[in-house]
Symmetry: C2
Subunit: 416 residues, 2 copies
C-alpha cells in the first residue's frame, strides 16, 4: 500500500509560519498531530466523507472538521438552501425572515426549548449562558467539570493557561465528572451562591478516555439544580444532534434550562444556537449580547435545511450504526495483532486508545500509519462519524487499519 507525502503542506506551513503565529493556531494546530510528518496540514477540497489535501492526497475523514461536518461536505440540500439565500442577501440591515423560521423549527424540535437565540461560536453561548445564570439568580458561582472544554474565554480555560488572571475564574468551581456527591458538597459549602452548573452530555477530555454519564448521574444533577435554584446548562456544542434531534438531554433523560448548540447545527456554516425554557426568556431579553454577523441569513438557511435533513434521515441512528460497524471491525483487527483497542464515548464520536501501549507512542504511530494511507485519524481527540460515511468507506478504512497494525507490529514487535 502506497503512503502519502506532503511537500506542499510543508511549503505552505513554512510560508504560514512567517505571517501567522504557530503557522496554524488553535485546535487546527499541527502540534498535537504526531508524528507531524505523517499528517497533511492544509485541505484543498472536500466532498462527502472525504477531503483532499494540497498535495492531492485523498482521505476518508474521521475528524469532520472537528465536528461541524455531519451530513457530508458540500451536501447538496444544505448548500442549495444556503446559495438560494445568498442570492437574496446574507448580512444585511434588518434581521432575515429565516431567523424566525429557524427559531420556530428549533422550538418545535427540542422539547426543552421555548425560545432560541443565535450567535456564531459555541463559546459565545457558553459564555452567555453563564451571564444569564448569574443574572437570573443574582449569584456568582459557576460549577463545571475538571477537564471539561467549553471554549476559550478566560474563565473557561483551566488555571495555568496563558493569558488568564485569577479574577477570571474566581467564581468557577471545578468538580470531577460523574460525581454528583461532589456537586452536592459544593452546594453545601456555598449555599445560595451557585448560579449555574455547566457540562457536556458526557465527558470528552482530550488525550484521555471519554466517559459516558453513570446511571442516574444527570437525574441527580437535575434534582440538585432544581432544589437549589441553580441554572442547569448543557454544552451540547460537540454532541448536539448526534444522539437525539431533540438535544442530547433527551437521549440521556433529563431537562436542562439552557442548551448550547453549534458544530453539527448547520453542517459547517457558521452559526450557534442557545435554546432555553420559558422561565429564562425575560432574562435573556435583558442581558445584552450581540455580534457583527449574528443576523446573517445564509447560515440560518443552512441550519434549517440541515436540521430537516438530519431529522429526515435519522442522522443520530445512522451515525451510531456506522460507528458501531467501524469500531467492531477495528477492535477485531486489533485483537488479531494482539492489541486491545479500547473505545470510549459513543460509537458516533469515539475516543480510541490501545491499552497495551501505556505511552501512547504506538497508538500515535498507528494513527499516523492509517493517515498516511488515506484514513485521517488523530490520536489525542475523539473522532466524528458523519452520515456521509458509506459501507465502502468502512471497508476501505478497515483494510488500511489492518495494514497499519501490520506496520506498527513489525516496528514495535511485542516489546511495547
Amino acid at each position: 500500500m502506497e503512503t502519502f507525502d506532503y511537500p506542499k503542506s510543508r511549503d505552505l506551513f513554512t510560508r504560514a509560519a512567517k505571517v501567522v503565529p504557530c503557522g496554524i493556531y488553535g485546535h487546527f494546530s499541527p502540534a498535537p498531530l504526531v508524528p507531524p510528518e505523517s499528517y497533511p496540514f492544509y485541505t484543498a477540497r472536500a466532498a462527502g466523507s472525504r477531503f483532499w489535501d494540497v498535495d492531492g492526497n485523498e482521505f476518508i475523514d474521521y475528524m469532520c472538521a472537528y465536528g461541524p461536518m455531519i451530513t457530508g461536505y458540500n451536501r447538496e440540500e444544505v448548500d442549495q438552501a444556503a446559495m438560494d439565500q445568498l442570492k437574496r442577501g446574507n448580512c444585511t440591515t434588518g434581521a432575515p425572515e429565516v431567523m424566525v423560521d429557524l427559531a420556530e423549527y428549533l422550538v418545535d424540535l427540542i422539547p426543552s426549548a421555548d425560545w432560541a437565540f443565535f450567535a456564531k461560536n459555541g463559546g459565545d453561548l457558553t459564555d452567555y449562558a453563564t451571564m444569564i445564570a448569574r443574572d437570573a439568580t443574582g449569584r456568582k458561582k459557576i460549577v463545571m467539570i475538571g477537564g471539561g472544554y467549553h471554549g476559550v474565554a478566560s474563565w473557561m480555560q483551566a488555571p495555568g493557561h496563558h493569558g488568564l488572571i485569577e479574577e477570571d475564574y474566581a467564581h468557577i468551581i471545578r468538580i470531577p465528572w460523574n460525581d454528583a456527591d461532589a456537586f452536592e458538597q459544593v452546594i453545601g459549602r456555598y449555599p445560595d451562591q451557585i448560579a449555574g452548573f455547566i457540562a457536556t452530555p458526557y465527558h470528552v477530555p482530550a488525550f484521555a478516555d471519554n466517559e459516558l454519564p453513570a446511571e442516574g448521574y444527570w437525574q441527580r444533577i437535575e434534582t440538585l439544580c432544581r432544589k437549589n435554584g441553580i441554572v442547569l446548562i448543557v454544552d451540547d456544542i460537540r454532541h448536539g444532534f448526534r444522539f437525539d434531534m431533540g438535544g442530547s438531554c433527551e437521549y440521556f433523560g433529563f431537562k436542562p434550562d439552557l442548551i448550547c448548540f453549534c458544530k453539527a447545527l448547520a453542517n459547517g456554516y457558521p452559526i450557534s444556537a442557545l435554546v432555553g425554557n420559558q422561565s429564562l426568556k425575560d432574562v435573556v431579553a435583558r442581558v445584552f449580547y450581540t455580534g457583527s454577523y449574528w443576523f446573517s441569513a445564509v447560515p440560518m438557511a443552512a441550519a434549517l435545511a440541515n436540521l430537516k435533513l438530519m431529522k429526515e434521515i435519522d442522522a443520530p441512528r445512522k451515525i451510531l450504526e456506522t460507528g458501531n460497524r467501524l469500531l467492531d471491525g477495528m477492535v477485531d483487527i486489533a485483537k488479531g495483532y494482539g492489541y486491545d483497542l479500547k473505545v470510549t464515548g459513543a460509537p458516533s464520536m469515539p475516543y480510541l486508545r490501545i491499552t497495551n501501549d501505556p505511552s501512547l507512542m504506538l497508538h500515535q504511530d498507528w494513527c499516523a500509519e492509517c493517515t498516511k494511507r488515506g484514513v485521517y485519524f488523530t490520536s489525542h481527540h475523539n473522532w466524528f462519524i458523519s452520515t456521509a460515511h458509506t459501507d465502502r468507506d468502512i471497508e476501505q478504512t478497515l483494510a488500511i487499519v489492518d495494514e497499519a497494525f501490520k506496520v506498527v507490529k513489525a516496528q514495535y514487535g511485542d516489546s511495547f
Copy 2:
C-alpha cells in the same frame, strides 16, 4: 411622496416574539428604532446600496448592516470568490490554503502587521487582545475609554449591565476620550500594573456625538504606552478600511501593537482579523484561542477579494467623498428649514443630530420620516457610507431628506 407601511414586518415580529427573546435581540433589536412603527424589522433581499424589506419596500441603506457592507450587497467580485471557494470546501478538516494567502496579503497591506490571526467576531479579538496584553506583560489592568464599545464579553460591558459580576471588571479602568492626561495619571496610580490600552481610532458612542482624536492625542498615548511597557490595542472593528487600507492608525498617524479588524473586512462574510507586531507573535502562539468555524475558507476567500477590491477602487477615499457630498447637501437643506444639523465623526461614518432639538424627539421623527420614504436612517447610531452609494442614491436621498424636513417642520413648527 408615498410613505411605507410594514404589516409583514409586524406579523413576523409577533411570531418571532414567541420564540426569540425580544423578538430580535442585540444591535438589531427594534427597541432603539423610534418611533418603531416607522421602521421595517426584517429584510427580504439586498443589492448594491439598497435593501428590500419583507413588505417589498425599497430602502437606500445608510446602516450597511451596521458596518459589514462596504463594497455593496452581493458585490460580484466578493461573492464570486466566495462561491468558487465554497465549491471546493468551506469548513473542513485542515486549514485552507487561502488562510496563508490572506495572512500574507494583510501583512503586506498593513504597516503595523507582522502577522495575522483570524476569528469570527470583533469581540473575539478585543477579548483575545487583552489576554495577549496580560500574558505579554504579566500585568492585569486594561485601560479603556468610558462609553467605548468593544463587544459583549462581561469585562467589556459597562458596570450596571445585566449578567456581570464585579470580578469581571475588577481590572478594567475607564478614562475619558481624548484625555491623555487621564491616562498618564492612571499610569502613575498603578505603576507597572497596566497591561494594555484599548480604544477605537476615534470615539463612537451611541446616542451621542462622535469625537475625532484631538491633535497629538494618539501620539501621546503611543509614547506613554512605549515608555511604560503597555500594549497598545486599536479596536478597528468598526472603522477599519474606511480611513486607510493600512488600518486607521495610518490615517491618524500612530503605531499600535495590535489591531482588531472585523466588519468591513469581507463585505459581510463572517471573519475578523487580529494583526500585530513581531514582538507579540510568540505570545499569541502560546495564548490558546480558537473556535469551531474559524478556519472556514469561504470568508477568507471573500476577505481577500474584498480587500483587493477596496484597495483597487480606493474605498476609503470614495466613501469619504460620497459622505461629504451627502452631508453637505443635508446640512444645507436642514438650514433652509431653520435646523442646525450637526455632523460628528468622519463623513464616511457620520453621526447626526439636530442641535436645536435638545430632546432628540424631532431628530428621531425626522429620521423616521426619511425611512418611511425609502432612506434608512437611525437616530441613535453612526451611519455607514459604502462604495456602492451612487450619485443617484445621493440625489434621491436629498429629495427625501427635504420632504422629511418639510413634514417635521409642519408638525413641530418653530416650537421645539
